[in-house]
Assembly symmetry: C2
Homo-oligomer: 364 residues x 2
């Protein structure tokens, strides 16, 4: 169907330059596959701060809410590092997650065949690695109240955060994980610290209940977060879908990504609930940051942004064929020996952002 | 000086059998080096639960408090897995940390030359690895109030934990990290999520203040916990001392340990403040757990427990020479080709707990 409403938020640092390569793919789809997107571009992060005084202006939230899908770049940079807490560029993404209730972050950690050697882990441990981390993103210690820094009776500063999880918050993200597992290798590893945290105890109980009642066919395993970090770093292939709260999911998904050795290749999706009108808010972004140190140099790897767009086509627009086409093209380009600086290896041809983007286009 | 008061808490699973190998080293020291320990043995964990109904009986806390140092084994096992929250064996260690105010957990992640191949990481990335993780252990989300599971107005369960850090809790553990860095490679990496957590903001501020005022000679770097997990898994050798709160320290120290590939080799110390009488509470334990699956089979690796004892000699009794002697003996045994099952490698000789312990004794 035509007229898919797409909001593009390039953000800061390398965001705009890698996004440019996606725009070229969109143009190609428009011409060659007669898919027309209704595209809006908006401001977020430092770019929005500079232009409007807010890292996530109301117009951006409204545009995101009106869109069928949001393609996000990355935010932040030294320019905005010393701003007060309520102006930090990260609020760009945090507010979008919260206001659109994008509660489930899907973070694949995949090792593509041509990139096995990029991993810090021994090749036999990561060859064929394909993990999906599902992270809760609208609750937990990221948003719980009370929070703040106050001065106590002894005149000492005290910092406080609250981790809160209700059973509904846990069960809805658990369902996302179980559903994904059914389409994969049918196993969910749920991660918490039930041995020391009360929210972890509830997490373990609720995930267990959902699994038993609704997904008896899916293998469910519970694991403490510290153990999960160990297992990821030593035997990562034991995992299929890993489910965690906002904080553990943050750390473990980055760990899993790092294991692949190719952060510049990894996309992510953050999705909300299916609404009454059948729509489902969703935001797609590369897992890498704004990389201010290389911004503007034309050497950033555009693949993660391109693959985020592929994920968007598959999950938000049901365009499985086009998504696969893009993914395969990226793989072919890598198999052909092209590498951006971040994944450069002996014997390969080092290229910049544009050449990489063009190569993917050519494969298409 | 004679009459060093030592409390031994073997605990559960493989705890008692690896502790036996330490006892033989102690006997040897008694005979050959005329060092006499005043040894007490106590109950903790499941063993204490079975005998007294509590995973950490008052007598154990009192004995630990009266001792100059505590050598701890490990706690827990399937037998006690379904007990109520306030009876879980983990309380054994949690209560000792809290009641003795053992606020700084020192967790070396070291790759010994003979064990480079045990790591899941490529040899070049871990050869010579020597990181010290300093984890806060009496505060943060492990103990903060309010905490619990309640039912809200909608009849839904809600789980709550509170992360609380005061500036004094942060500065005292920061000093431990800075002091250690001075004796090492002079660098501290302080880890938090100051971009989303208020306690993390305070953590970053206070560590920065202590560093600037008292340790201007030590390099200080701040890093988000998710990034730290990534960096550990990809370029671990960039770190010297890593400082984190209770929760991040838990996950990151286990991650760092896993990178070495030899959990059965790693000791740890948890220390308190120097008291008015000059004493300093300290507890030493291997970082591995009670490993119920191999308990009683005589195949557990006693080295982590033995090296924990060496750490005890060095830190609590100032017996640097003896500590080094034990450490060197362990290394020689490994260099000689003996391996327990957990670190077994092609071409090596597989031995059990007792043979490994005897080999270390012989080297002594
Ligand atoms: C930018 C930051 C707030 C964010 C987080 O901690 O969630 C980032 O690490 C991520 O994972 O998207
Ligand atoms: C046993 C458990 C409570 C403990 C913790 O989480 O602190 C363990 O993981 C550790 O690191 O000693």
């Amino acid at each position: 169907p035509a007229n898919k409403k797409l909001l593009i938020l390039p953000g800061d640092g390398i965001g705009p330059e890698v996004m440019r390569e996606v725009r070229r793919i969109i143009d190609w789809m428009d011409r060659r596959r007669s898919v027309t997107f209704d595209i809006n571009e908006g401001l977020v992060g430092g770019a929005a701060l500079d232009a409007t005084g807010s890292p996530c202006p109301d117009e951006t939230v409204a545009a995101a809410s009106a869109a069928d899908a949001v393609l996000f770049g990355s935010v932040g940079g030294p320019k905005w590092d010393s701003l007060p807490f309520d102006q930090r560029p990260e609020l760009g993404i945090l507010r979008l997650r919260k206001d659109l209730q994008l509660f489930a972050n899907l973070r694949p950690a995949v090792v593509l065949a041509p990139l096995v050697e990029a991993s810090a882990l021994r090749a036999d441990l990561v060859r064929g690695l394909d993990i999906m981390i599902v992270r809760e993103t609208t609750g937990g210690i990221y948003f719980g109240e009370p929070r703040g820094i106050h001065v106590n009776e002894q005149g000492k500063r005290v910092g406080i955060d609250t981790e809160v999880y209700s059973e509904d918050e846990i069960s809805r993200v658990a369902r996302v994980a179980f559903d994904l597992a059914r389409k994969r290798r049918n196993k969910v590893t749920s991660v918490e610290k039930a041995n020391v945290m009360q929210s972890g105890r509830l997490w373990r109980a609720v995930v267990g209940e959902v699994g038993k009642a609704e997904y008896p066919d899916v293998e469910l395993e519970h694991m403490y977060a510290d153990n999960c970090a160990m297992q990821l770093a030593s035997r990562p292939k034991q995992f299929d879908v890993v489910l965690g709260g906002n904080l553990f999911g943050d750390v473990l998904s980055d760990l899993a990504a790092a294991l692949t050795g190719s952060l510049g290749m990894l996309p992510s999706a953050t999705i909300g609930a299916v609404q009454a009108d059948g729509r489902r808010h969703a935001l797609y972004e590369p897992i890498h940051g704004s990389a201010p140190d290389i911004a503007g140099k034309g050497i950033a790897n555009p693949c993660a942004q391109i693959l985020s767009f592929a994920m968007l086509l598959r999950l938000s627009f049901d365009m499985d064929e086009d998504a696969t086409l893009i993914e395969k093209s990226v793989e072919k380009v890598l198999a052909g020996g092209l590498r951006t600086a971040d994944i450069m290896a002996p014997g390969m041809a080092r290229v910049g952002t544009t050449v990489m983007g063009e190569a993917v286009l050519r494969e298409l």
